[in-house]
């Protein structure tokens, strides 16, 4: 981007000062003030209708502020041309919004093209970004959105938001529309990316798990007001109100933690996740794409052999699954959650399998709980 168009190279601080937004008689955001520190991942968390999305969209002026101001690095967002401002900020939405009439490369490269980049520069950058989001570049660069699964589309959406190297990224429930296990996988990948990228990210979600997993700090909103802004630990230990402690369930968890069994929090094993040892990676890839998932369990004779992930399948398309499964911790339904969480935490494995006389479920590591054990 030409230097005159680059507004900020690195975010020092974003100041949201007494911001209000009204729609007729409804106040969507009411006198919200908060500071975003450069380089952090700040979560905006709250129930549907609490104003978190509206607040996010006031930062890149998709929604105009009624009262108050937003300053990025001490500059008022009102002082910038909105179109240029948005070229400086990356934005990802839940429905993704990849243009159906453009290939992956054209989608990601649209703004660079309008900015005057050469074809080679665009291709190079697109390939870099595809690598970054774990999609084999040569395979995906000319695909159309129609040919991509939900998870793949979301990754491209992320790549598109990062193409201009903007130091600020706004994300509005980006993983909301995906399969629960896929969501976990993408969150894992995203945590890895976050380290690499070193950007300031403001992330909207209504999922407490996601908030705890990804966020450095969490801002909780309700009915347009900011209730508490704190790190995860502070929220657990020092909730500002009953509303907050209900959300993080801290009282409940402390009280009943020892009584929770694996059966209480596992996901029932669905057919779409089941694969056979003798299947080829290629057929597994197809099945996963149709089901919009990127994870599977391999069974034989009603026993868990292990798990498979789409990324590894892509790397080895001609192997059969017996060579590609990773070990998975197996639990009984009546085992205590505390024990299970400990085991998974130590094995650094966020997925476990649940077995009765036959496989019955999948256990996902619950961030909140792992913090408490």
């Amino acid at each position: 981007m030409t230097s005159s168009n680059r507004f900020f190279n690195k975010i020092q601080e974003i100041k949201i000062d007494n911001v209000t937004k009204k729609y007729g008689s409804i106040t969507a955001v009411q006198k919200v003030s908060l500071d975003v520190q450069g380089g952090e991942l700040l979560i905006l968390l709250g129930p549907s209708g609490c104003g978190k999305t509206t607040l996010l969209r006031m930062i890149n002026r998709l929604v105009e502020i009624d009262e108050g101001e937003i300053l990025i690095n001490e500059q008022n967002v009102q002082d910038f041309d909105p179109v240029l401002l948005r070229k400086n900020i990356g934005y990802v939405i839940q429905q993704i919004g990849l243009f159906p009439h453009m290939t992956v490369k054209e989608n990601i490269g649209l703004v660079p093209k309008l900015d005057g980049w050469s074809e080679e520069k665009i291709t190079k950058k697109v390939k870099e970004l595809l690598q970054l989001v774990s999609l084999p570049p040569d395979e995906f660069i000319n695909r159309r959105p129609k040919q991509l699964s939900g998870g793949q589309q979301q990754r491209i959406g992320l790549a598109r938001a990062m193409v201009m190297n903007s130091p600020l990224l706004l994300m509005d429930e980006p993983f909301g529309a995906l399969d629960p296990i896929l969501r976990k996988q993408l969150q894992e990948e995203f945590i890895g990316l976050k380290e690499k990228l070193q950007r300031t990210i403001i992330f909207v979600t209504h999922d407490i798990e996601e908030a705890f997993r990804l966020g450095d700090r969490i801002a909780i909103l309700k009915d347009g007001k900011l209730i508490q802004l704190a790190t995860k630990n502070e929220l657990l230990v020092n909730p500002a109100s009953d509303f907050i402690s209900d959300i993080v369930d801290s009282k409940q968890k402390f009280r009943h933690l020892d009584n929770l069994t694996v059966k209480d929090i596992m996901l029932p094993l669905e057919e779409k996740y089941i694969f056979q040892l003798s299947q080829t990676a290629e057929s597994a890839i197809k099945k996963m794409k149709d089901a919009e998932i990127e994870f599977g369990v391999v069974l034989e004779n009603q026993q868990y052999i292990g798990t498979i992930k789409l990324n590894q399948l892509y790397a080895n398309p001609d192997k059969i699954l017996s060579k590609l499964t990773a070990e998975v911790p197996v639990f009984k339904p009546d085992e205590s959650v505390t024990v299970a969480m400990n085991i998974m935490k130590n094995a650094n494995n966020f997925i476990g399998a649940v077995m009765e006389s036959k496989p019955i479920g999948i256990l996902l590591a619950n961030e909140l709980l792992t913090k408490l054990v």
Binding site: V83, Y91, F99
Partner: protein, 208 residues
């Protein structure tokens, strides 16, 4: 029998006359119609008025429209071309307009958020995604234009309408059947070409 009619009525020349009128009219209609649609896409109030006026012209029987233009433009080529253009602009303009405004909001939102200006959004996102609808409108216009130009034969505009009128006046069954069926074949052919283009555009720019 067919060969005789063909020669007597000079159907080759008539066909060429006919088709050239159709294509010229279509070219003008597409340019003006799409331009109107693009002009109106963000002006809701004005679009209502313009589309309503065009709609009323549509309901007037084609022959009547043709005939009403005669006091101003005489007979023959001129009123026929003008009538066919007036009559057939609506499907193209309306489909262009509807296609542009019916683009799925999520694409418009992404584009805005990426920092695209309204004009860039119009040309890079709305128009490509509206192409299938525009093609559908053009396909309809093709049928309308064929109809009016055939009628033009009644007021000496040339083309295949003339031989048909002759056939009716002379009560000559052969002429009517040969010319009539020939017009039918041409019409269906043109429509299929339109349909093919529509399908191709749908595959490239359509989304389900």
């Amino acid at each position: 029998m067919i060969a005789q009619v063909w020669k007597n009525q000079q159907l080759t020349i008539k066909t060429i006359e006919h088709l050239s009128m159709v294509f010229v009219a279509l070219a003008i209609i597409i340019v003006i119609g799409v331009a109107i649609g693009i002009f109106l896409y963000n002006k809701k109030y004005l679009s209502n008025i313009v589309l309503n006026i065009l709609n009323i012209i549509e309901t007037i029987p084609e022959l009547v429209l043709l005939v009403i233009l005669m006091p101003f433009f005489g007979i023959g080529y001129k009123p026929t071309m003008i009538a066919s253009i007036l009559y057939s602009i609506l499907p193209v303009a309306r489909n262009t307009y509807v296609g542009l405004i019916q683009v799925d909001k999520q694409y418009l939102e992404s584009a805005r958020a990426m920092g695209l200006a309204e004009r860039e959004i119009l040309w890079k996102i709305r128009i490509p995604l509206a192409l299938p609808m525009i093609a559908a409108g053009i396909r309809i216009a093709i049928v309308f234009v064929m109809g009016v130009i055939t009628l033009g034969g009644l007021i000496a505009a040339g083309g295949l309408g003339g031989p048909i009128q002759t056939g009716i006046h002379l009560y000559d069954r052969d002429i009517i059947l040969v010319t009539g069926l020939w017009i039918g074949i041409l019409a269906v052919l043109l429509d299929s070409i339109g349909s093919f283009i529509e399908k191709v555009l749908n595959r490239k720019y359509g989304y389900d």
